[in-house]
Symmetry: C2
Subunit: 413 residues, 2 copies
């Protein structure tokens, strides 16, 4: 049984040191961690093999995500080196002003403190989470999927050795050894020590964390993304974007799940879309109006409008106005990413302003919602909540701020 | 029994309209609300009197906060008019850039959506919460203390009439009629409809919300504020600031509760402090070293270091270095406001950087931690968490952002 209070105290202690480290020193450590991962790769693979022997009855894709080999470890090490190249948000001054009382206030970017990461059996997340939290001066407590426990313990041991060798408090990173749900629940209640919880993984895992946590959570979420083909859309562009947004990687949260299309262009464009999706074996479903145009498709149900398929399925809603499109999308979307295809200026602006989502696109694929594609150089996840962070999260979203106030003896009257 | 799902749906519906209102229109409504409060003040006072008749066995200060009269209603109306003068953060572009894929991204400030406010029997908060959330384009669901129910219902009715008369969805503001704890708990679980909960009130109320809410909470919190008198402090400045921070308004969260003092200056300055606090009947407690200098004071216990007195009591800790001071403060503070009194540059910088708190002061009273004193023109509360908002919260903290992405047909490769 992990002593969570003790782990929390140790993490908080470590976070004090981390908050004061220079960017150069943090970068040096990250480079050494990348080297150490390469140096100890055989030992890591031995532990990973043991994890793989222990799992039974899981899907191929699960096992694939759990498996480490030379190539994967090289990718992980390279990923750490990429974090070195990112600019360090800590110490940045967001704003500064002088008050009526002549106090000089500056708002400075600081680490969050202690971050709790809860994720599935993906050992790459273990190292990635360390690299991103360390670069931003945070201590991290990791709770990975139980199937990857031995791998995670080894990875963290490799990182800790580098920390110790460089006089950094090794509790900058800690991993839960006990994978019972009870222990995870205790971790989610450590409000005195953990500043933020970040769950990464399936909708179910995230829901569990949101429902059980007392520590503030950054919710990275599900996507039920829509492409709205406006009455003023270029047909070819609409087809291209829908094919891309559905098929380029259907399992991810920024893939499109729904087509909303204006009735004026539906007769022309829906058959083009159906034809273009055919080679990818995308199953189409639709409302009554869509089925008048594409008679072979199944009737979409209320459940369809709500569902994130993450699969080669799409449902089609025909609307008679952009307002109906916006209302439909705002009713069913998960506030992730939504797109309009149009050549009409007023409609593009209306859609951008009235759709309630982290990312709203005009004439582009929803698949661009991504920390790397946005140019952040990293991605902690994509926030679908409105507090703290919304949309793709880079290093800045792992930070907080504090006010520094310089005076000369002022008292309040 | 309130139908919370229905209230949530209605609030969300209203929030769509509010998000699109121009600043001019929002300001017009706020001015009319102020007028209506004055116009209907007698009816409001009748309901308030009924609330006052119903309460029994409560303290004078409780009843004082609950009571409305002509003067109080005028103050509330003036408060609404002050919100009119604040600049509207909605629509502001925080940043914009072009990505490698030639997508033009702008990050725009938008309302949070639906805010839930949970607070005590203070009718002024009802109107204040409406004014601030409305100005920032948010719908609000109010759950005030049960003792103020009739007053709150009347105040909200007055506001709703103005909304209806001006074609604004009246569900922009709603009040829970059912004051059972169960209903409040249901409200705290409305994750599909409420974007953020803001509890305002006692530490106990806030703790209850943090422990029970599934909706994200902005925690406004307790203050266990310290004044550290450095070895290089000006004695007179230290005394002035301590007297101000303790006695100017001892019941509030930014009042100082603890003195930490360097041993080199303790013998000289502690008696000066004790003398200056004497006219205010401040009870001093101290560690063994402090008691050698001030033999009449009580020994401070572990509980003292942890306690926010909100009263005319202060505890004194003598330290032998600034590092000991920083460690003591980081161990016991509530991350609210901390001050150092010093003329030494290196020590001031060390304290500013190493103290973990929302607001860190050099040579000024902690009493300045306040949205108005910071120049925000409003104060929703003082956040002691690190997510989303930290320190005094103004209008900006009632907003979120979204990314608007303009393309010309880009798909992801």
């Amino acid at each position: 049984m992990d002593d969570l209070i003790r782990m929390g105290e140790q993490a908080q202690q470590a976070s004090r040191q981390l908050a004061q480290l220079s960017t150069a020193r943090k970068n040096k450590i990250l480079k050494l961690v990348a080297q150490a991962l390469r140096q100890f790769k055989n030992e890591i693979i031995v532990e990973n093999n043991q994890d793989l022997v222990n799992v039974t009855g899981l899907t191929d894709s699960f096992i694939d995500r759990l498996t480490l080999d030379d190539k994967r470890i090289e990718q992980i090490a390279t990923g750490v080196e990429q974090v070195v190249t990112l600019s360090d948000p800590i110490g940045e001054i967001n704003k500064g002003w002088k008050t009526e009382d002549e106090l000089a206030i500056t708002k400075q970017r600081v680490p969050l403190g202690v971050i709790g990461m809860i994720y599935e059996a993906r050992p790459n997340v273990t190292v990635d989470a360390f690299a991103l939290t360390f670069k931003t001066g945070n201590a991290v407590i990791l709770r990975g999927g139980k199937e990857s426990l031995l791998t995670n313990i080894k990875l963290v041991a490799v990182i800790k050795k580098v920390l110790r060798d460089n006089d950094i408090n090794e509790h900058a990173v800690q991993v839960l050894h006990d994978t019972a749900h009870e222990t995870a629940n205790k971790m989610m209640s450590l409000t005195d020590y953990i500043d933020v919880l970040i769950p990464r993984g399936s909708a179910r895992l995230i829901k569990t964390v949101v429902e059980n946590a007392k520590v503030p959570v950054i919710q990275t979420g599900a996507g039920n993304c829509h492409i709205y083909v406006d009455e003023f859309a270029q047909a070819k562009m609409a087809v291209n974007i829908i094919v891309n947004a559905k098929t380029q990687r259907p399992s991810v949260c920024n893939a499109a799940e729904k087509i909303v299309i204006h009735s004026v262009v539906a007769t022309k464009i829906l058959p083009m879309i159906a034809k273009a999706l055919k080679p990818f074996n995308v199953e189409l479903r639709g409302d009554e109006q869509a089925r008048k145009i594409l008679p072979d498709i199944k009737l979409a149900t209320e459940e369809d409008w709500q569902t994130e398929y993450n699969d080669y399925i799409m449902a089609i809603k025909v609307v008679d106005s952009i307002d109906d499109a916006i209302n439909h999308i705002n009713k069913y979307n998960t506030k992730h990413s939504e797109a309009i295809i149009t050549d009409n200026y007023a409609n593009s602006e209306k859609f951008l302003q009235q759709i309630d989502a982290a990312c709203v696109y005009v004439n582009a694929s929803t698949r661009f919602t991504d920390g790397f594609k946005f140019g952040f150089g990293a991605e902690i996840g994509i926030s679908t909540q409105k507090l703290h962070a919304r949309g793709p999260m880079g290093l800045e979203e792992l930070t907080s701020t504090k006010y520094l106030i310089r005076g000369h003896g002022q008292i309040r009257k």
